[in-house]
Amino acid sequence: MHGTTMIFLVVMPLLIGFANYLTPLMIGARDIAFPRLNALGFWMLFFGSLMLYFSFIGGGAPAAGWFSYAPLSEKPYSATPGLDYWALGLLFMGVGTVSTAINLNVTILKYRIKGMSLKRLPLFVWMVFVNGFIILFALPPLNAALVMLLVDRQLFAHFFKAVYGGSALMWQQYFWAFGHPEVYIMVLPAWGMISEIIPVFSRKPIFGYGFVAGSTVAIGLLSFGVYAHHMFAVGLGHPFDFAFAFTSMAIAVPTGIKIFNWIATMWGGRIRFTTSMKYATAFIVLFTIGGISGVTFAVIPVDWQVTDTYYVVAHFHYVLFGGTIFGVFAAIYYWFPKLSGRMLSEKLGNWHFWLTFIGFNLTFFIQHFVGLIGMPRRVYTYPDMPGWAWMNMVSSIGAFVLGISVLVFLWNLFISLRQGKPAGNNPWEAWTLEWAATSPPEEHNFELVPPVRGRRPLWDLAHPDQPDWKLNKSEE
């Protein structure tokens, strides 16, 4: 439940929520293309999540992990209805997610203001756009697998039951054909946030706009060709394993390109270390650690050694917490003034950042080592092996620090909403269109949208003597 909840009910709603709010503002539109469909998507998520959590009172929570491998997820091994609620809930949420992704992509295609060509699109919107296509093609494998599981469980069919000639491996194939693109679904919008925030606080345009957008497209395509690296331990055969090892290493290249773009943007800039920028900078560091440990899995023997250990847990928390959640915190500190009209307290923000940063690293960095010396994941206890106890203790202390940091954050939200400094339209002197709207924006977003002749319309507006489009011909 922790995995399913975090992925489907925390990370995705946070990212898609931001995308939903910001996309129309950033492209100068009044609203999303299909507002009612948008509401439908939200309510499907809402009721889907209720259905998932109903399992607790409806006979017991699903207990087969977030990937619910067959045959453990089949009736003989999971007899309670928990897994049926799990599958139905995810099916609902999946359809809702697809509808929202389509909605956002139609908005981006059809609702851009005059002058907002694809080459001038804010990078956050670019990422949302690519993300939409990944969702479009990655969610159906999950939905197909879920309905097959439900048919198996409810109608006694045989898709994943080896006894009757079915194939448990097919579940894994279908699930990871969704599951790996899903990883990119969960990080692309965060990359987009970072790509908006770092330039503003470095007081420089993004370095290599085309490369950031282009490498995102490359990742979108490659993300469908790497999934079987989750299955190296299954025994698919060498040719199969090698092919996926190769693609998994290849996808690190466009990811690395982005890291260099962000660093090069900061290089030589007049950096303002606001809380948002601190989170963005920490994102680069932590995401790089998570990315590098990710590449180690592409080396098949290493994967065999560390699969199902805490090393894997450490890896994906560096990607999803150190990456995505740090990106989301950066985004919250950056866009909260726009959403609410008030600034978040920088003083509390500073506390929040350092507590999160220290707590996170205390909790998860040591898990690399715990995993390397062999502690398996998904087992609630561990034997008294030398070194295991104190390492787990460090992890636990870190988790408490992390918990306190969340309290600081919630207090900051609460107090700043009531007493925060009024933000004004553009507190960060940013350049994208959402900062031309009032804070918070009116229901129709804009009275007047400034002319868009480059990638930084508000810069052009503020500096009529040296607008971007005069200096940079590639933005034409």
């Binding site: 389509i102 295609l109 159906p140 697998a145 069919a157 000639g165 079915g166």
Partner: protein, 184 residues
């Protein structure tokens, strides 16, 4: 292209992946999983072909309905919509006959892998036909109430037609792979 059509093409794209995976599951078990997955002798390709012709033809009729809205011949458009709905229903009746025949033979979704994959695949296709029929009926209803005359709603038949063609194309694949067994 109108935004409604862009929307529908994206819906069709995501649905296409879904059906591809169900078809792949059928083909995979058919090829690898022993006798239980190969019970295609129970099917009646000829009868299903006749019923399939109704579905294939309905792609033409829905196209006529769309064109007649463009030409503002709303009466004719309603006629073609009605024909489309009737053809769709006829196809579903054919599916019903097929299913009851199989079930009388003792072939159900839980009998063997053929049943499992066949009923899941054709069931989901039939459900999509059924949803299409509901939407087409709604179109017919609001057309009789005098809609489609403003540009804002004029697209509707064309948008639903994209979906209907898609359901049709999926059946082309299912019919040729499951009934005609072109790959085996």
């Amino acid at each position: 292209m109108h935004k409604d059509k862009v929307l529908m093409f994206m819906v069709v794209a995501t649905e296409a992946v879904f059906f591809t995976l169900l078809i792949l599951a059928y083909l995979y078990f058919h090829a690898t999983s022993g006798e239980g997955a190969k019970q295609t002798a129970l099917l009646d390709p000829l009868r299903t072909f006749y019923f399939s012709m109704f579905l294939f033809t309905s792609s033409f009729t829905v196209w006529r309905a769309e064109k007649n809205v463009d030409k503002k011949n709303f009466g004719r458009s309603r006629f073609w919509l009605l024909v489309t709905i009737l053809f769709g229903i006829t196809f579903l009746v054919g599916q019903g006959i097929e299913w009851t025949g199989l079930i009388r033979h003792g072939e159900t979704v839980s009998t063997n892998l053929f049943g499992t994959t066949f009923f899941t695949l054709t069931g989901f296709h039939g459900m999509h036909v059924f949803v299409g029929l509901i939407v087409l009926s709604i179109l017919l209803g609001i057309s009789m109430l005098g809609d489609f005359q403003q540009p804002r709603t004029a697209n509707s038949v064309g948008v639903v037609a994209i979906y209907w063609h898609f359901v049709d194309i999926v059946w082309v694949f299912i019919f040729s792979l499951v009934y005609l067994q072109v790959l085996s």
